[in-house]
């Protein structure tokens, strides 16, 4: 191996409980993939390659949430081997849709899906990586945005923070010039409390935002619950479902669901 090749930063992609969609985003960077592979050494990425290069790694991208005892230990080992650790997507950042178990009895869940629950070993909760280790940057979305992924990889290669805004989806609608669904159609849209990054995709398809990027920085869940329940007639039950879908375990959405439970 030449000196130059050895000097390339090492990227590792790790999987926990997830759908594989966020790591697939790496392979979906069709225009950038071979360039990325040229700039960095893809050292560990089981979905894409059989080759494994030993750590330490310069950048670890972590997909999925912690749902087993083994995974709880594994993330600590990955942290020890990683200079920079970035979570990719709602599962690693907020526990993902499988965090719906956090609000139910897992034994009952296991018996619904599996005829012989005694064969299954799993934790009672699905938790984000930040509950277990220090995370350097959290990339949101279910799934993540390809554009933001390329930005995160480029930023860490250049030694700077990723230029990713924590504003709401509403700001993206304004920039695109999409007419507000909440105001013009009176439909409950999660845009005001949801983290930007999708370029306000759903409203541009004439569909209210359903919060797949999780909470924006400092969302006003209380006001959202009041607005949608009092002015738009949303039932408490429907509001709870809105908050408890892909980012149910994110603290701000947890709070929103609890407030919604108080709505008659």
């Amino acid at each position: 191996m030449t000196v130059a090749a050895r000097a390339k930063p090492k990227l590792a992609v790790w999987k926990f409980a997830s759908c594989d969609g966020c790591q697939l985003s790496v392979l979906d960077c069709e225009d950038e993939l071979l360039a990325i592979a040229g700039a960095i050494d893809i050292a560990n990425f089981a979905e894409a390659t059989t080759a494994v290069v030993r750590g330490p790694y310069d950048l670890s991208l972590v997909e999925g949430s912690v749902t087993t005892e083994h995974d709880r230990e594994r993330i600590h080992e990955i942290r020890r081997q990683s200079k920079v650790l970035v979570t990719i997507g709602a599962c690693a950042t907020a526990g993902g849709i499988q965090a719906l178990r956090n609000f139910k009895d897992v034994k009952e869940f296991t018996s619904i899906v599996y005829a012989s629950p005694q064969y299954i070993s799993t934790l009672d909760t699905s938790t984000p990586m930040s509950d277990h280790v220090k995370v350097d940057f959290e990339l949101r979305g279910c799934p993540i945005s390809k554009v933001q992924l390329v930005e995160v990889i480029s930023a860490y290669l250049a030694g700077r923070r990723p230029g990713i805004s924590a504003e709401s989806v509403c700001m993206e609608c304004k920039v695109r010039g999409t007419v507000c669904i909440m105001v013009s159609q009176g439909k409950p849209c999660m845009g005001p409390v949801t983290h930007a990054g999708c370029n306000a995709l759903c409203p541009s398809f004439d569909r209210p935002c359903f919060g797949c990027f999780g909470p924006k920085e400092t969302p006003n869940a209380k006001s959202f619950v009041q607005w949608t329940s009092e002015r738009q007639g949303m039932s408490g039950q429907n509001l709870v479902r809105l908050f408890r879908t892909f980012n149910a375990n994110a603290p701000e959405f947890k709070e929103g669901a609890e407030l919604a439970e108080g709505v008659k």
Binding site: K15, F16, A17, S18, C19, D20, G21, C22, Q23, L24, S25, L27, D28, E30, D31, L33, L34, A37, I42, A46, E47, A48, T49, T50, A51, T67, T68, D71, G96, I97, Q98, L100, R101, K104, V106, E108, F109, T110, I112, V113, Y114, A115, S116, Y119, I120, T122, C142, P143, C198, L201, C202, F205, D206, R207, F210, C212, N238, R241, T245, F246
Partner: protein, 429 residues
């Protein structure tokens, strides 16, 4: 007593996590287990109590590789439960969306996950150093498939435009027509990829599968049709429980599906090609014939070529649909809830995906059952390894492990789906 133990801890280039364990006693293969350690995510459990409008978004999250399949099977099952049959033009737009997913998923598997096995590379990026043209071609074709999913569905992974009854917004004629040139180029690309794959080294390995798929009288199957098999099954999807069942085995977080009367079966591209050959386009048939593929094919290693044929079909079908496309007045039909049970079986790129929902009168989901293609194929994949590894036990452990992984990747397993999969471990004693 001669003892030998081989471990493949993580089967790579598959979606999700699993391991393969082989037990060899006195030079004889004693046991094969595909061990699914991808942790369970309990979708069927948390769907209970949710609204009938939610499964297209929620079940998409089972799999980032084939979310469209989940969206289509859930919509069809829920619409069946509500007694609504969605007609034209929505059914054609659904077919178009499925074409996009088949193109991107098949090309990903052919070039990135499967081809490196035949040529002895660790991955497509390393393969690109010697086979740059085919990797570049694949990236371009995959991009076109993803672009189609994005235009119709909003984004390539977990599309947002699908709803029970149809779509939130109809794709624009202008956006779709812009895809015609890249699709026409991709059709030539699919033929080129098939010509590239033909001279690869294929082991003689015909298997006695019972092949199962959805079959439609006039179309190669995506969304609609009867469930048929080479063993004589010919049922409406609603009769699914009469013929199939799921069994839970100890070594796996995935359930195994079987034909009640006979046992193991196989779903996926091989099944569709064999059972629905007549519904392929003349150009796809000609490409298959040039590659030496006929409906008599039973060798799972040849699925790399069948995926190229199906990719060509999906591209041609997309072109046909786009050329005739007119924007509908309303992109969805109303689906009022009612109490009942509905069944939906559609063809994901890697095989048949069945959803069943039981609804309350207000649309609350009382029960959900999801049977992904990989759990239907698991038992047949274990059978394949038994038959394939048996005569090859003389190989060194590392080589045997690599060949077994190849035999598993023939079926493009999606382990994320199956846990509702892979590591190779050979235990030689």
């Amino acid at each position: 007593m001669a003892t030998r133990k081989i471990d493949v801890e993580t089967i790579t280039r598959v979606e999700g996590e699993g391991a393969l364990r082989l037990k060899v006693r006195d030079g004889q293969l004693e046991d094969v287990q595909l061990n699914i350690y991808e942790p369970p995510r309990f979708f069927e459990a948390f769907l209970r109590g949710r609204s009938y409008t939610e499964p297209p978004d929620i079940t998409a999250r089972i799999c980032g590789i084939c979310p469209v399949a989940y969206q289509m099977s859930s919509c069809h099952a829920i619409e069946a439960a509500c007694g609504v049959k969605v007609g034209e033009p929505i059914r054609t737009i659904r077919r178009l969306l499925y074409c996009g997913e088949w193109i991107e998923s098949h090309v990903l598997h052919v070039a990135f996950l499967h081809a490196p096995d035949f040529l002895g590379y660790m991955d497509a990026i390393r393969m690109a150093a010697d086979h740059g043209a085919v990797v570049q071609l694949a990236l371009k074709m995959k991009k076109t498939g993803n672009k189609l999913v994005t235009i119709v569905g909003g984004r390539e992974i977990h599309p947002i435009n699908v709803r029970v009854g149809g779509f939130y917004k109809a794709p624009s004629k202008k956006d779709l027509r812009a895809l015609l040139d890249p699709l026409k180029e991709a059709a030539d690309g699919a033929e080129a990829m098939l010509r590239w794959a033909k001279p690869l080294d294929y082991p003689d390995f015909d298997r006695p599968y019972e092949l199962v798929c959805v079959k439609h009288p006039d179309e190669y199957p995506f969304n609609e049709g009867r469930v048929v098999s080479t063993g004589g099954i010919d049922i409406d999807p609603s009769q699914y429980d009469d013929v199939f069942e799921e069994r839970h085995v100890e070594h796996s977080n995935a359930l195994h599906s079987v034909v009640k009367a006979r046992g193991h079966y196989l779903t996926g591209p091989l099944a569709r090609f064999v059972l629905c050959y007549d519904q392929l386009t003349p150009r796809a048939k000609a490409a298959a014939a040039a590659a030496g593929l006929t409906p008599a094919v039973r060798n799972p290693f040849l699925t790399i070529m069948i995926r190229c044929v199906e990719t060509l079909y999906a591209i041609e079908e997309a072109i046909r649909i786009i050329e005739a496309y007119e924007e509908p007045d309303r992109p969805y039909e109303d689906v009022p809830p009612r109490a009942g049970k509905g069944y939906g079986c559609t063809e994901a790129p890697r095989g048949m995906l069945c959803h069943h929902y039981t609804l309350d009168s207000d649309g609350t989901i009382l029960d959900a059952e999801i049977i992904p293609p990989t759990s239907q194929n698991l038992a047949s994949m274990e059978d394949d390894i038994r038959a394939f590894a048996g005569p090859r036990l003389g190989l060194p452990d590392a080589e045997l492990a690599m060949k077994c992984e190849h035999a598993i990747r023939n079926h493009d397993p999606c382990i994320s789906c199956a846990t509702h999969f892979l590591k190779l471990e050979v235990d030689r004693q």
